[in-house]
Amino acid sequence: MSDKIFSPVIFDLSVRNLRLNFLRSLLAMIGIIIGVVAITSMGMTGAAFSEELTGSLTGTSNSITVTGISSTGSGPNSYMTAGLSTKDLRNIESAVKSVTENYVLIPMYTGYDMVRPAGSDERMQASIYGLSTADIESLVTVEDGKIPTGNNGVIIGRQLADDYSLSIGSRIEIPQRNSSTISVRIVGIMANSGSMAFTFSTDNAIIGTTDWYERFHETGGLYSLAMITVANLDDLDPVIAAIEAKMNGRTDRTTDDTVLISDARQFVESMKESIGMISVFIMALGGISLVVAAVSIFNVMLMSVNERIREIGILRSIGTLRYQILQMFLYEAAIIGFIGAVIGGILSLIAASVVISLMLGDVSLMFNVPVLMYVPYGILIGVVVCLLSGLYPAWKAANLNPVEALASD
């Protein structure tokens, strides 16, 4: 019988009953709308965030970072025990060269310090880099001022400048270990990359020349890391393998690796994973509202069953089968769920666009397939939740004893 799958007359009864109890149905629907909006817009925001991250990191995905992890003949300075010596750098460079000629190798010093703008008590965390002037020039985009040369000053990130109202000519004080401070002049401001870059977090960076850096940090002639960028992405894996073989391959002599090679792609993956986990967590929070909605639908359906016991008795006595009664109540749950979830899906587009434009400043991030996919998923979850919460009331209705049901008032 075709009505096993869909029965128009039973569906019609469901619709009429929902219309009869319009307010109650509407309230249950609002619950589902809120639940769907919560999980969908949260999910979309997380996905948009992930999209933005991927987009901003594709620029650095063809680069790797080589960090020295064991010091070769370091002095008594415990502050700087690991690094890349000039010999290490030569070895790395020759390893890269064995694969490709199209590469850029930038050795740099990096460190974190609490610094403060001159004449201020406010301390801020900053990444401090020391690079050669030529390398600074190739890495950053100057927005204002100029590239530092020699010891004449530093160039800082736009974010840092804005946050602490720093401008060209301002001075920054960097505290030293012997409780003195080094004061440095700002000669340039970098364009805001608006994103996280792999090696460089330019927004929060203070960049000076290697000469300048060496003046106040005992580097021991060891660079913190080397950034290698290859022109062709396909060369990346062979380059990694070559450096790995050259630097870490001599396992007969030392048990420890000499350098650590980080690949931007791994970084992107792990960042995406973290963001994914955070999104799931936030969606779970949104899911609580869906649970509340499920409880309210459960309640509405139970009330609907209890109010209609007699009607169920009549329907059963004149030949309505159990599964048709089950169908009738499941249709009700499905109608509430479907309308609610679709409205919720539409509203979550609006909600997500607001959240995304406020948090990420770019609504266009929303119009990516992985982001928009949350809308149908959210709708589907909403409908499924409704059906699940309608299951017990429907089952209860279907299994009423027709004699007792008929006798009730």
Binding site: S7, V9, L13, S317, I318, G319, Q324, L406
Partner: protein, 228 residues
Amino acid sequence: MTDQETPVVELRDVYKVYQMPAGDVHALNGVTFSVMPGEFVAIMGPSGSGKSTLMNMIGCLDVPTAGEMYIDGKSVKEMTDDELTIHRRDHIGFIFQKFNLIGLLTAYENVEYPMILKYGKRDDTGRPKELLASVGIDEAKMMHTPFELSGGQQQRVAIARALANDPALLLCDEPTGNLDSKMSEQIMELLRDLNSRGRTIIMVTHDPHTATYADRIIVIRDGEIVDE
């Protein structure tokens, strides 16, 4: 009705016991009788005598605790809930004291409903209208919901509904219990007319006057048949 030898309903030593917290209630204590096609049987008895239980049993809404019951020669013990439901749908027409129309549906739709259940589609034969007309419900009233109709009109709609799938057996539970005497008279005339055209009718009543329309009266007391 093709086979005159098979009773429409046959009960053999039927017991019905309801288990209640306060103890077992013996609603039927060994009831034996049968109804042949074309009969008009009235079941009489005071309230609590077990006549409603008997009615539910004949209507396949309930099954015996012990004893045998046959519907058109088939033992109900061997029938599933779905089979009993389909039997109610196709072979029994129910007429209740409280009319029991579906409030969500119009008079027309109430009559059409059992047909949709049976055939899985909306009616295209015009039968609901014919039935409603035959019980005296005019075209305008057909689109009203039960709440907009008088008691007598509701019972007429209920009779039309009971006839929708052309059942062999009409089961009437106090069909005139909620109607005034003039209405009752009309409803009983309608039932007698249906019986005269070959339909089997079993009617529960405690009104002796209503019972006179039947050609056989079964009196039940304390779950047993005391007079026939």
